[in-house]
Protein backbone atom coordinates (compact mmCIF):
# COMPACT_ATOMS: atom_id res chain seq x y z
CA UNK A 1 0.00 0.00 0.00
CA UNK A 2 2.62 2.52 1.02
CA UNK A 3 4.48 3.30 -2.14
CA UNK A 4 7.09 6.00 -2.04
CA UNK A 5 6.00 9.09 -3.92
CA UNK A 6 8.68 8.83 -6.58
CA UNK A 7 7.38 5.45 -7.64
CA UNK A 8 3.75 6.52 -8.05
CA UNK A 9 2.43 5.81 -11.50
CA UNK A 10 0.70 8.54 -13.45
CA UNK A 11 -2.66 6.90 -12.77
CA UNK A 12 -2.01 6.71 -9.04
CA UNK A 13 -0.88 10.31 -9.02
CA UNK A 14 -4.01 11.33 -10.86
CA UNK A 15 -6.12 9.43 -8.35
CA UNK A 16 -4.36 11.08 -5.42
CA UNK A 17 -4.93 14.55 -6.87
CA UNK A 18 -8.64 13.89 -7.29
CA UNK A 19 -8.89 12.38 -3.82
CA UNK A 20 -7.20 15.29 -2.14
CA UNK A 21 -9.39 17.74 -4.02
CA UNK A 22 -12.43 15.81 -2.81
CA UNK A 23 -11.45 15.65 0.83
CA UNK A 24 -9.96 19.16 0.97
CA UNK A 25 -13.15 21.01 1.96
CA UNK A 26 -13.97 18.52 4.71
CA UNK A 27 -10.45 18.33 6.11
CA UNK A 28 -9.98 22.10 6.02
CA UNK A 29 -13.38 22.53 7.62
CA UNK A 30 -12.63 20.02 10.36
CA UNK A 31 -9.33 21.72 11.14
CA UNK A 32 -10.77 25.24 11.22
CA UNK A 33 -14.14 24.45 12.79
CA UNK A 34 -13.25 21.62 15.16
CA UNK A 35 -9.58 20.92 15.76
CA UNK A 36 -8.42 24.48 16.14
CA UNK A 37 -11.39 25.26 18.45
CA UNK A 38 -10.71 22.18 20.59
CA UNK A 39 -7.09 23.28 21.10
CA UNK A 40 -8.17 26.85 21.61
CA UNK A 41 -10.69 25.85 24.28
CA UNK A 42 -7.97 24.01 26.18
CA UNK A 43 -5.73 27.09 25.88
CA UNK A 44 -8.50 29.40 27.08
CA UNK A 45 -9.10 27.19 30.08
CA UNK A 46 -5.70 28.42 31.33
CA UNK A 47 -6.67 32.07 30.80
CA UNK A 48 -8.65 34.67 32.60
CA UNK A 49 -11.11 36.42 30.33
CA UNK A 50 -10.71 40.18 30.45
CA UNK A 51 -13.62 42.60 30.43
CA UNK A 52 -15.67 42.59 27.21
CA UNK A 53 -13.99 39.32 26.22
CA UNK A 54 -10.71 41.13 25.52
CA UNK A 55 -7.21 40.58 26.74
CA UNK A 56 -6.84 36.99 27.83
CA UNK A 57 -4.22 36.75 30.54
CA UNK A 58 -2.55 33.47 31.25
CA UNK A 59 -3.37 32.33 34.75
CA UNK A 60 -2.10 28.76 34.71
CA UNK A 61 -4.21 26.34 36.68
CA UNK A 62 -6.16 29.01 38.55
CA UNK A 63 -9.42 28.23 36.71
CA UNK A 64 -9.00 24.54 37.39
CA UNK A 65 -8.36 24.97 41.07
CA UNK A 66 -11.35 27.31 41.26
CA UNK A 67 -13.62 24.94 39.33
CA UNK A 68 -12.50 21.81 41.14
CA UNK A 69 -12.88 23.38 44.55
CA UNK A 70 -16.29 24.87 43.75
CA UNK A 71 -19.14 22.83 45.17
CA UNK A 72 -21.38 23.65 42.23
CA UNK A 73 -19.05 21.96 39.74
CA UNK A 74 -19.22 18.64 41.56
CA UNK A 75 -22.88 19.17 42.25
CA UNK A 76 -23.63 19.72 38.58
CA UNK A 77 -21.56 16.68 37.60
CA UNK A 78 -23.53 14.62 40.08
CA UNK A 79 -26.79 16.09 38.75
CA UNK A 80 -25.75 15.10 35.25
CA UNK A 81 -25.02 11.55 36.37
CA UNK A 82 -28.36 11.38 38.18
CA UNK A 83 -30.12 12.46 34.98
CA UNK A 84 -28.26 9.77 33.03
CA UNK A 85 -29.16 7.16 35.66
CA UNK A 86 -32.83 7.79 34.91
CA UNK A 87 -32.76 8.48 31.21
CA UNK A 88 -30.46 5.72 29.97
CA UNK A 89 -31.78 2.57 31.74
CA UNK A 90 -35.46 3.47 31.59
CA UNK A 91 -35.20 4.79 28.06
CA UNK A 92 -33.45 1.61 26.94
CA UNK A 93 -35.62 -0.95 28.77
CA UNK A 94 -38.97 0.59 27.82
CA UNK A 95 -37.83 1.01 24.23
CA UNK A 96 -36.67 -2.61 24.10
CA UNK A 97 -40.01 -3.91 25.34
CA UNK A 98 -41.91 -1.78 22.83
CA UNK A 99 -39.57 -2.84 20.03
CA UNK A 100 -40.05 -6.55 20.82
CA UNK A 101 -43.85 -6.09 20.81
CA UNK A 102 -43.82 -4.10 17.59
CA UNK A 103 -41.60 -6.70 15.96
CA UNK A 104 -44.32 -9.35 16.46
CA UNK A 105 -46.14 -8.14 13.35
CA UNK A 106 -49.28 -7.22 15.25
CA UNK A 107 -51.93 -5.15 13.55
CA UNK A 108 -51.48 -1.39 13.84
CA UNK A 109 -47.72 -1.65 14.36
CA UNK A 110 -46.92 1.27 12.10
CA UNK A 111 -49.38 3.57 13.86
CA UNK A 112 -47.78 2.78 17.22
CA UNK A 113 -44.32 3.30 15.79
CA UNK A 114 -45.34 6.69 14.39
CA UNK A 115 -46.66 7.78 17.79
CA UNK A 116 -43.65 6.58 19.81
CA UNK A 117 -41.23 8.28 17.45
CA UNK A 118 -43.11 11.59 17.49
CA UNK A 119 -41.09 13.27 20.29
CA UNK A 120 -37.92 12.73 18.25
CA UNK A 121 -39.04 15.18 15.58
CA UNK A 122 -40.05 17.87 18.08
CA UNK A 123 -37.83 20.68 19.21
CA UNK A 124 -36.77 19.94 22.82
CA UNK A 125 -37.58 23.56 23.61
CA UNK A 126 -41.24 22.92 22.79
CA UNK A 127 -41.26 19.56 24.57
CA UNK A 128 -39.79 21.11 27.70
CA UNK A 129 -42.33 23.93 27.61
CA UNK A 130 -45.32 21.62 27.59
CA UNK A 131 -43.90 19.39 30.30
CA UNK A 132 -43.20 22.40 32.46
CA UNK A 133 -46.85 23.30 32.00
CA UNK A 134 -47.98 19.75 32.82
CA UNK A 135 -45.86 19.87 35.98
CA UNK A 136 -47.15 23.29 37.05
CA UNK A 137 -47.94 22.99 40.72
CA UNK A 138 -51.04 25.15 40.79
CA UNK A 139 -52.58 24.92 37.32
CA UNK A 140 -50.87 21.87 35.84
CA UNK A 141 -52.69 18.86 34.44
CA UNK A 142 -50.92 16.31 36.67
CA UNK A 143 -51.74 17.82 40.03
CA UNK A 144 -55.30 18.65 39.00
CA UNK A 145 -56.08 15.21 37.55
CA UNK A 146 -54.61 13.28 40.45
CA UNK A 147 -55.75 15.83 43.06
CA UNK A 148 -52.23 16.20 44.39
CA UNK A 149 -50.18 19.23 45.25
CA UNK A 150 -46.72 18.10 44.29
CA UNK A 151 -43.94 20.55 43.46
CA UNK A 152 -42.75 18.41 40.55
CA UNK A 153 -39.97 20.68 39.40
CA UNK A 154 -39.27 22.93 42.36
CA UNK A 155 -38.87 20.32 45.07
CA UNK A 156 -35.11 19.64 45.09
CA UNK A 157 -35.70 16.01 46.04
CA UNK A 158 -38.08 15.41 43.17
CA UNK A 159 -37.08 17.76 40.36
CA UNK A 160 -34.30 15.58 39.00
CA UNK A 161 -36.70 12.66 38.62
CA UNK A 162 -39.31 14.85 36.91
CA UNK A 163 -36.71 16.05 34.44
CA UNK A 164 -35.46 12.51 33.91
CA UNK A 165 -39.01 11.48 33.01
CA UNK A 166 -39.09 14.11 30.26
CA UNK A 167 -35.80 12.73 29.00
CA UNK A 168 -37.13 9.16 28.93
CA UNK A 169 -40.32 10.26 27.15
CA UNK A 170 -38.20 12.06 24.56
CA UNK A 171 -35.79 9.24 23.67
CA UNK A 172 -37.98 6.13 23.77
CA UNK A 173 -38.89 6.42 20.09
CA UNK A 174 -35.32 6.85 18.97
CA UNK A 175 -34.05 3.88 20.98
CA UNK A 176 -37.03 1.83 19.83
CA UNK A 177 -36.32 2.42 16.15
CA UNK A 178 -32.71 1.31 16.60
CA UNK A 179 -33.85 -1.78 18.53
CA UNK A 180 -36.38 -2.71 15.82
CA UNK A 181 -33.72 -2.61 13.14
CA UNK A 182 -31.45 -4.70 15.38
CA UNK A 183 -34.24 -7.23 16.00
CA UNK A 184 -34.88 -7.63 12.30
CA UNK A 185 -31.33 -8.81 11.81
CA UNK A 186 -31.75 -11.78 14.16
CA UNK A 187 -32.42 -14.81 11.94
CA UNK A 188 -35.85 -16.36 12.48
CA UNK A 189 -34.51 -19.93 12.61
CA UNK A 190 -33.04 -19.30 16.06
CA UNK A 191 -36.55 -18.82 17.39
CA UNK A 192 -37.91 -21.79 15.45
CA UNK A 193 -35.21 -24.04 16.87
CA UNK A 194 -35.91 -22.74 20.36
CA UNK A 195 -39.63 -23.33 19.92
CA UNK A 196 -38.98 -26.95 18.97
CA UNK A 197 -36.93 -27.30 22.15
CA UNK A 198 -39.91 -25.96 24.04
CA UNK A 199 -38.53 -22.52 24.91
CA UNK A 200 -41.30 -19.95 24.85
CA UNK A 201 -41.83 -16.22 25.18
CA UNK A 202 -39.74 -14.98 28.03
CA UNK A 203 -37.08 -17.67 27.79
CA UNK A 204 -36.66 -17.01 24.07
CA UNK A 205 -36.31 -13.36 24.88
CA UNK A 206 -33.67 -13.91 27.56
CA UNK A 207 -31.63 -16.57 25.77
CA UNK A 208 -31.88 -15.48 22.15
CA UNK A 209 -33.02 -11.89 21.84
CA UNK A 210 -30.96 -10.36 24.64
CA UNK A 211 -27.56 -11.84 23.69
CA UNK A 212 -28.01 -11.46 19.93
CA UNK A 213 -29.21 -7.92 20.36
CA UNK A 214 -26.36 -6.94 22.64
CA UNK A 215 -24.33 -5.05 19.98
CA UNK A 216 -27.37 -2.86 19.28
CA UNK A 217 -28.04 -2.43 22.98
CA UNK A 218 -24.45 -1.48 23.59
CA UNK A 219 -24.50 1.07 20.77
CA UNK A 220 -27.69 2.64 22.11
CA UNK A 221 -26.44 2.73 25.71
CA UNK A 222 -23.19 4.34 24.62
CA UNK A 223 -24.81 7.01 22.42
CA UNK A 224 -27.51 7.79 24.94
CA UNK A 225 -25.06 7.90 27.83
CA UNK A 226 -22.97 10.54 26.09
CA UNK A 227 -26.16 12.34 25.06
CA UNK A 228 -27.40 12.31 28.65
CA UNK A 229 -24.10 13.50 30.06
CA UNK A 230 -24.26 16.55 27.79
CA UNK A 231 -27.93 17.34 28.49
CA UNK A 232 -28.78 21.01 28.30
CA UNK A 233 -32.04 21.92 26.52
CA UNK A 234 -34.41 20.28 28.99
CA UNK A 235 -32.76 21.80 32.05
CA UNK A 236 -32.48 25.19 30.45
CA UNK A 237 -36.12 25.32 29.41
CA UNK A 238 -37.70 23.70 32.46
CA UNK A 239 -35.66 25.23 35.27
CA UNK A 240 -36.06 28.96 35.75
CA UNK A 241 -33.13 30.89 37.18
CA UNK A 242 -35.23 31.49 40.30
CA UNK A 243 -36.18 27.84 40.77
CA UNK A 244 -35.01 26.68 44.20
CA UNK A 245 -34.26 23.23 42.82
CA UNK A 246 -31.89 24.60 40.17
CA UNK A 247 -28.81 23.72 42.22
CA UNK A 248 -30.00 20.14 42.42
CA UNK A 249 -30.75 19.71 38.74
CA UNK A 250 -28.48 21.90 36.63
CA UNK A 251 -26.22 19.83 34.44
CA UNK A 252 -22.56 20.52 33.77
CA UNK A 253 -23.35 21.84 30.27
CA UNK A 254 -25.94 24.17 31.77
CA UNK A 255 -23.28 25.45 34.18
CA UNK A 256 -20.89 25.89 31.25
CA UNK A 257 -23.49 27.86 29.30
CA UNK A 258 -24.18 30.08 32.29
CA UNK A 259 -20.52 30.93 32.83
CA UNK A 260 -19.40 31.20 29.22
CA UNK A 261 -22.36 32.96 27.67
CA UNK A 262 -24.61 34.44 30.36
CA UNK A 263 -21.77 35.73 32.55
CA UNK A 264 -19.29 36.09 29.67
CA UNK A 265 -16.50 34.32 31.53
CA UNK A 266 -15.14 32.31 28.60
CA UNK A 267 -11.98 31.16 30.38
CA UNK A 268 -13.87 29.59 33.26
CA UNK A 269 -16.46 28.19 30.85
CA UNK A 270 -13.68 26.60 28.83
CA UNK A 271 -12.35 25.00 32.01
CA UNK A 272 -15.75 23.46 32.73
CA UNK A 273 -15.90 22.06 29.18
CA UNK A 274 -12.47 20.51 29.51
CA UNK A 275 -13.55 18.89 32.78
CA UNK A 276 -16.70 17.59 31.05
CA UNK A 277 -14.72 16.19 28.12
CA UNK A 278 -12.25 14.51 30.47
CA UNK A 279 -15.18 12.97 32.31
CA UNK A 280 -16.76 11.72 29.08
CA UNK A 281 -13.45 10.26 27.95
CA UNK A 282 -13.22 8.27 31.19
CA UNK A 283 -16.78 7.03 30.71
CA UNK A 284 -15.97 6.06 27.10
CA UNK A 285 -12.95 4.04 28.19
CA UNK A 286 -15.01 2.25 30.83
CA UNK A 287 -17.69 1.55 28.22
CA UNK A 288 -15.15 0.03 25.87
CA UNK A 289 -13.91 -2.26 28.61
CA UNK A 290 -17.50 -3.24 29.29
CA UNK A 291 -18.09 -3.90 25.61
CA UNK A 292 -15.55 -6.72 25.60
CA UNK A 293 -17.23 -8.30 28.58
CA UNK A 294 -20.91 -8.01 27.88
CA UNK A 295 -21.37 -7.76 24.15
CA UNK A 296 -21.86 -10.91 22.16
CA UNK A 297 -20.63 -10.63 18.59
CA UNK A 298 -21.80 -13.33 16.28
Amino acid sequence: MKEPKAKMSAAAKNEAVWAWAFIAPTILGLIILNFYPAVNTVYQSFCKTGDFGRGNTFVGLANYSAALSAGETWHSLWNTIKYAIIEVPFGVVIALILAVFLNKKLKGTSAFRTIFFLPMVCAPAAVAMVWKWLYNQQFGLLNNIFHTNIAWISDPKLAWISIGVIGVWSVIGYNMVLFISGLQEIPGDYYEAAAIDGATGIRQFLHITVPLLSPTTFFIVQTRLIGALTVFDLMFMVMDKTNVALQNTQSIVYLFYTYAFTNGNKGYGATLVVILVAFIMIVTVIMQRAEKKFVFYN
Binding site: E15, F22, L33, Q44, P119, M120, P124, M129, G227, F261
Partner: protein, 280 residues
Protein backbone atom coordinates in the same frame (compact mmCIF):
# COMPACT_ATOMS: atom_id res chain seq x y z
CA UNK B 1 -53.95 -27.09 22.38
CA UNK B 2 -56.97 -25.10 23.46
CA UNK B 3 -55.13 -23.67 26.46
CA UNK B 4 -52.13 -22.77 24.29
CA UNK B 5 -54.37 -20.79 21.99
CA UNK B 6 -56.00 -19.04 24.95
CA UNK B 7 -52.54 -18.25 26.28
CA UNK B 8 -51.53 -16.78 22.91
CA UNK B 9 -54.66 -14.67 22.85
CA UNK B 10 -54.00 -13.43 26.37
CA UNK B 11 -50.42 -12.56 25.43
CA UNK B 12 -51.61 -10.62 22.43
CA UNK B 13 -54.12 -8.77 24.57
CA UNK B 14 -51.47 -7.86 27.15
CA UNK B 15 -49.11 -6.62 24.44
CA UNK B 16 -51.81 -4.42 22.98
CA UNK B 17 -52.63 -3.15 26.45
CA UNK B 18 -49.03 -2.07 27.05
CA UNK B 19 -48.78 -0.49 23.59
CA UNK B 20 -52.04 1.43 24.01
CA UNK B 21 -51.09 2.71 27.47
CA UNK B 22 -47.68 3.82 26.21
CA UNK B 23 -49.20 5.47 23.14
CA UNK B 24 -51.56 7.33 25.44
CA UNK B 25 -48.68 8.55 27.62
CA UNK B 26 -46.78 9.66 24.53
CA UNK B 27 -49.75 11.59 23.20
CA UNK B 28 -50.91 13.34 26.40
CA UNK B 29 -48.37 16.18 26.21
CA UNK B 30 -49.28 16.84 22.58
CA UNK B 31 -52.98 16.81 23.35
CA UNK B 32 -52.49 19.11 26.32
CA UNK B 33 -50.44 21.48 24.19
CA UNK B 34 -53.29 21.83 21.69
CA UNK B 35 -56.08 21.90 24.30
CA UNK B 36 -54.34 24.68 26.20
CA UNK B 37 -53.58 26.60 23.03
CA UNK B 38 -57.26 26.93 22.14
CA UNK B 39 -58.41 28.03 25.59
CA UNK B 40 -58.76 31.53 26.90
CA UNK B 41 -56.15 32.61 29.42
CA UNK B 42 -58.84 32.45 32.15
CA UNK B 43 -59.80 28.89 31.29
CA UNK B 44 -56.20 27.74 31.21
CA UNK B 45 -55.57 28.77 34.82
CA UNK B 46 -58.91 27.78 36.25
CA UNK B 47 -58.50 25.07 38.89
CA UNK B 48 -61.83 24.96 40.61
CA UNK B 49 -63.39 23.69 38.42
CA UNK B 50 -60.51 22.38 36.35
CA UNK B 51 -61.22 22.26 32.62
CA UNK B 52 -59.76 19.71 30.30
CA UNK B 53 -61.62 21.04 27.28
CA UNK B 54 -62.12 24.71 26.44
CA UNK B 55 -65.46 25.98 27.73
CA UNK B 56 -66.17 29.00 25.55
CA UNK B 57 -65.53 27.33 22.23
CA UNK B 58 -62.22 26.39 20.64
CA UNK B 59 -60.25 29.56 20.13
CA UNK B 60 -58.34 28.66 16.99
CA UNK B 61 -57.76 32.38 16.48
CA UNK B 62 -55.14 32.15 19.25
CA UNK B 63 -52.82 30.65 16.67
CA UNK B 64 -53.34 33.54 14.26
CA UNK B 65 -52.68 36.03 17.03
CA UNK B 66 -49.48 34.34 18.16
CA UNK B 67 -48.39 34.01 14.53
CA UNK B 68 -48.69 37.75 14.06
CA UNK B 69 -47.51 39.08 17.40
CA UNK B 70 -44.36 36.95 17.61
CA UNK B 71 -43.42 37.24 13.98
CA UNK B 72 -43.42 33.56 13.24
CA UNK B 73 -42.87 34.26 9.54
CA UNK B 74 -39.35 35.40 10.33
CA UNK B 75 -38.66 32.50 12.69
CA UNK B 76 -39.84 30.05 10.04
CA UNK B 77 -37.76 31.77 7.39
CA UNK B 78 -34.59 31.74 9.50
CA UNK B 79 -35.07 28.12 10.50
CA UNK B 80 -35.77 27.05 6.93
CA UNK B 81 -32.76 28.87 5.51
CA UNK B 82 -30.52 27.46 8.21
CA UNK B 83 -31.76 23.93 7.55
CA UNK B 84 -31.47 24.35 3.79
CA UNK B 85 -27.88 25.58 3.84
CA UNK B 86 -26.78 23.11 6.49
CA UNK B 87 -28.23 20.18 4.57
CA UNK B 88 -26.77 21.43 1.27
CA UNK B 89 -23.30 22.01 2.72
CA UNK B 90 -23.26 18.74 4.66
CA UNK B 91 -24.40 16.64 1.70
CA UNK B 92 -21.99 18.32 -0.73
CA UNK B 93 -18.84 18.14 1.36
CA UNK B 94 -19.63 14.72 2.81
CA UNK B 95 -20.42 13.04 -0.50
CA UNK B 96 -17.15 14.25 -2.01
CA UNK B 97 -15.03 13.26 0.97
CA UNK B 98 -16.99 10.04 1.43
CA UNK B 99 -16.29 9.04 -2.16
CA UNK B 100 -12.56 9.73 -1.81
CA UNK B 101 -12.31 7.80 1.46
CA UNK B 102 -14.53 4.97 0.26
CA UNK B 103 -13.27 4.37 -3.27
CA UNK B 104 -9.91 6.05 -3.94
CA UNK B 105 -6.37 5.33 -2.82
CA UNK B 106 -4.08 8.18 -1.92
CA UNK B 107 -1.18 8.93 0.38
CA UNK B 108 -2.30 10.23 3.76
CA UNK B 109 -5.69 8.53 3.55
CA UNK B 110 -5.44 6.76 6.90
CA UNK B 111 -4.24 9.82 8.74
CA UNK B 112 -6.94 12.06 7.25
CA UNK B 113 -9.65 9.55 7.99
CA UNK B 114 -8.50 9.31 11.56
CA UNK B 115 -9.21 13.05 11.82
CA UNK B 116 -12.80 12.28 10.85
CA UNK B 117 -13.08 9.53 13.45
CA UNK B 118 -11.50 11.64 16.19
CA UNK B 119 -13.90 14.52 15.55
CA UNK B 120 -16.83 12.10 15.97
CA UNK B 121 -15.59 11.06 19.39
CA UNK B 122 -15.08 14.54 20.84
CA UNK B 123 -18.13 16.09 22.54
CA UNK B 124 -19.12 19.11 20.46
CA UNK B 125 -19.34 21.42 23.48
CA UNK B 126 -15.59 21.84 23.35
CA UNK B 127 -15.86 23.63 19.98
CA UNK B 128 -18.48 26.17 20.96
CA UNK B 129 -16.57 29.03 22.59
CA UNK B 130 -13.95 29.44 19.80
CA UNK B 131 -16.62 28.91 17.13
CA UNK B 132 -18.61 31.71 18.71
CA UNK B 133 -15.56 33.97 18.81
CA UNK B 134 -14.88 33.26 15.12
CA UNK B 135 -18.47 33.99 14.11
CA UNK B 136 -18.31 37.16 16.14
CA UNK B 137 -15.03 38.28 14.53
CA UNK B 138 -16.34 37.53 11.05
CA UNK B 139 -19.35 39.73 11.78
CA UNK B 140 -21.81 36.87 11.33
CA UNK B 141 -23.67 37.26 14.62
CA UNK B 142 -27.42 37.52 14.09
CA UNK B 143 -27.12 36.24 10.54
CA UNK B 144 -28.20 33.01 8.89
CA UNK B 145 -24.59 32.41 7.85
CA UNK B 146 -23.66 32.45 11.53
CA UNK B 147 -26.30 29.78 12.21
CA UNK B 148 -24.94 27.62 9.39
CA UNK B 149 -21.25 28.16 10.25
CA UNK B 150 -20.42 25.11 12.42
CA UNK B 151 -22.34 22.81 10.08
CA UNK B 152 -20.44 23.47 6.85
CA UNK B 153 -18.60 20.18 7.12
CA UNK B 154 -19.60 17.00 8.90
CA UNK B 155 -17.39 14.22 10.15
CA UNK B 156 -20.39 12.04 10.87
CA UNK B 157 -21.75 12.57 7.34
CA UNK B 158 -18.37 11.81 5.81
CA UNK B 159 -18.26 8.56 7.74
CA UNK B 160 -21.82 7.70 6.73
CA UNK B 161 -21.22 8.39 3.03
CA UNK B 162 -17.90 6.56 3.07
CA UNK B 163 -19.73 3.46 4.27
CA UNK B 164 -22.31 4.02 1.55
CA UNK B 165 -19.69 4.25 -1.21
CA UNK B 166 -17.78 1.24 0.08
CA UNK B 167 -20.88 -0.89 -0.24
CA UNK B 168 -21.21 -0.29 -3.98
CA UNK B 169 -20.02 -2.95 -6.44
CA UNK B 170 -16.63 -2.47 -8.05
CA UNK B 171 -17.35 -3.42 -11.66
CA UNK B 172 -19.61 -0.43 -12.31
CA UNK B 173 -16.79 1.98 -11.85
CA UNK B 174 -14.30 -0.21 -13.69
CA UNK B 175 -16.56 -0.36 -16.71
CA UNK B 176 -16.83 3.42 -16.72
CA UNK B 177 -13.05 3.75 -16.41
CA UNK B 178 -12.61 1.54 -19.47
CA UNK B 179 -15.04 3.78 -21.34
CA UNK B 180 -12.67 6.63 -20.65
CA UNK B 181 -14.49 8.45 -17.86
CA UNK B 182 -12.18 10.31 -15.51
CA UNK B 183 -12.60 10.11 -11.76
CA UNK B 184 -14.76 13.21 -11.59
CA UNK B 185 -17.15 11.89 -14.21
CA UNK B 186 -17.31 8.48 -12.56
CA UNK B 187 -18.16 10.13 -9.27
CA UNK B 188 -20.79 12.47 -10.63
CA UNK B 189 -22.53 10.26 -13.17
CA UNK B 190 -22.26 6.79 -11.72
CA UNK B 191 -21.37 6.58 -8.08
CA UNK B 192 -23.07 9.57 -6.50
CA UNK B 193 -26.57 8.74 -7.75
CA UNK B 194 -26.21 5.27 -6.23
CA UNK B 195 -25.71 6.58 -2.71
CA UNK B 196 -29.05 8.33 -2.68
CA UNK B 197 -30.33 6.51 0.40
CA UNK B 198 -27.27 7.43 2.47
CA UNK B 199 -27.63 10.97 1.25
CA UNK B 200 -31.30 11.07 2.30
CA UNK B 201 -30.33 9.70 5.72
CA UNK B 202 -27.72 12.39 6.13
CA UNK B 203 -30.11 15.09 4.93
CA UNK B 204 -32.83 14.07 7.39
CA UNK B 205 -30.36 13.72 10.22
CA UNK B 206 -28.81 17.14 9.53
CA UNK B 207 -32.20 18.83 9.20
CA UNK B 208 -33.48 17.31 12.45
CA UNK B 209 -30.33 18.19 14.32
CA UNK B 210 -30.41 21.80 13.09
CA UNK B 211 -34.11 22.12 13.83
CA UNK B 212 -33.74 20.83 17.38
CA UNK B 213 -30.54 22.64 18.29
CA UNK B 214 -31.05 25.23 20.98
CA UNK B 215 -27.71 26.39 22.34
CA UNK B 216 -26.02 27.53 19.14
CA UNK B 217 -28.87 29.75 17.87
CA UNK B 218 -29.29 31.18 21.38
CA UNK B 219 -25.62 32.14 21.40
CA UNK B 220 -25.17 33.58 17.92
CA UNK B 221 -28.62 34.99 17.24
CA UNK B 222 -29.70 36.90 20.26
CA UNK B 223 -32.14 39.19 18.48
CA UNK B 224 -35.73 38.02 18.21
CA UNK B 225 -35.87 38.75 14.48
CA UNK B 226 -32.75 36.79 13.59
CA UNK B 227 -33.18 33.61 15.56
CA UNK B 228 -34.69 30.17 14.93
CA UNK B 229 -37.90 28.53 16.13
CA UNK B 230 -36.15 26.67 18.98
CA UNK B 231 -34.34 29.68 20.35
CA UNK B 232 -37.37 31.87 19.65
CA UNK B 233 -39.45 29.67 21.95
CA UNK B 234 -36.86 30.04 24.71
CA UNK B 235 -37.07 33.79 24.30
CA UNK B 236 -40.87 33.80 24.41
CA UNK B 237 -40.91 31.64 27.53
CA UNK B 238 -38.62 34.12 29.21
CA UNK B 239 -40.89 37.01 28.35
CA UNK B 240 -44.43 35.66 28.46
CA UNK B 241 -44.06 32.54 30.59
CA UNK B 242 -47.37 32.78 32.39
CA UNK B 243 -49.64 33.30 29.40
CA UNK B 244 -50.14 29.59 28.88
CA UNK B 245 -52.43 29.55 25.82
CA UNK B 246 -49.96 31.82 24.02
CA UNK B 247 -47.00 29.67 25.04
CA UNK B 248 -48.67 26.45 23.96
CA UNK B 249 -49.85 27.96 20.68
CA UNK B 250 -46.26 28.99 19.92
CA UNK B 251 -44.99 25.54 20.83
CA UNK B 252 -47.52 23.96 18.46
CA UNK B 253 -46.57 26.37 15.68
CA UNK B 254 -42.90 25.56 16.22
CA UNK B 255 -43.23 21.80 15.97
CA UNK B 256 -46.03 21.43 13.41
CA UNK B 257 -43.91 21.77 10.25
CA UNK B 258 -41.48 19.02 11.26
CA UNK B 259 -44.33 16.75 12.37
CA UNK B 260 -46.08 17.17 9.01
CA UNK B 261 -42.85 16.44 7.14
CA UNK B 262 -42.26 13.44 9.38
CA UNK B 263 -45.71 11.98 8.83
CA UNK B 264 -45.31 12.32 5.05
CA UNK B 265 -41.75 10.97 4.84
CA UNK B 266 -42.06 8.57 7.75
CA UNK B 267 -40.32 5.67 6.07
CA UNK B 268 -37.29 7.78 5.18
CA UNK B 269 -37.13 9.27 8.67
CA UNK B 270 -37.23 5.96 10.47
CA UNK B 271 -34.82 4.26 8.05
CA UNK B 272 -32.56 7.28 8.07
CA UNK B 273 -32.26 7.22 11.84
CA UNK B 274 -31.99 3.44 12.02
CA UNK B 275 -29.24 3.16 9.39
CA UNK B 276 -27.25 6.22 10.32
CA UNK B 277 -27.60 5.65 14.05
CA UNK B 278 -26.40 9.18 14.58
CA UNK B 279 -26.59 10.78 17.98
CA UNK B 280 -29.32 13.33 18.08
Amino acid sequence: MESARAQARLNKFLMYLVLVIMAFIMLVPFAWMILTAVKTNQESISVNPFYIFPQSGWHWENFAEVWKSYNFVILYKNTLLMIFFRVACACLTATMAGYAFGRLNFPGKKLMFSLVLIQMMIPSQIFIIPQYLMVSKLGLLNKVSGLVFPGIVTAFGTYLLKTGYQGLPKDLEEAAAIDGCNIGQRFLRIMMPLTRSSMVSLGIFTALFAFKDLMWPMIVCTKAETTTLSAGLAKMQGQYGSDYPTMMASAVLAIIPMIVIYVIFQKQFVEGIATSGGKL
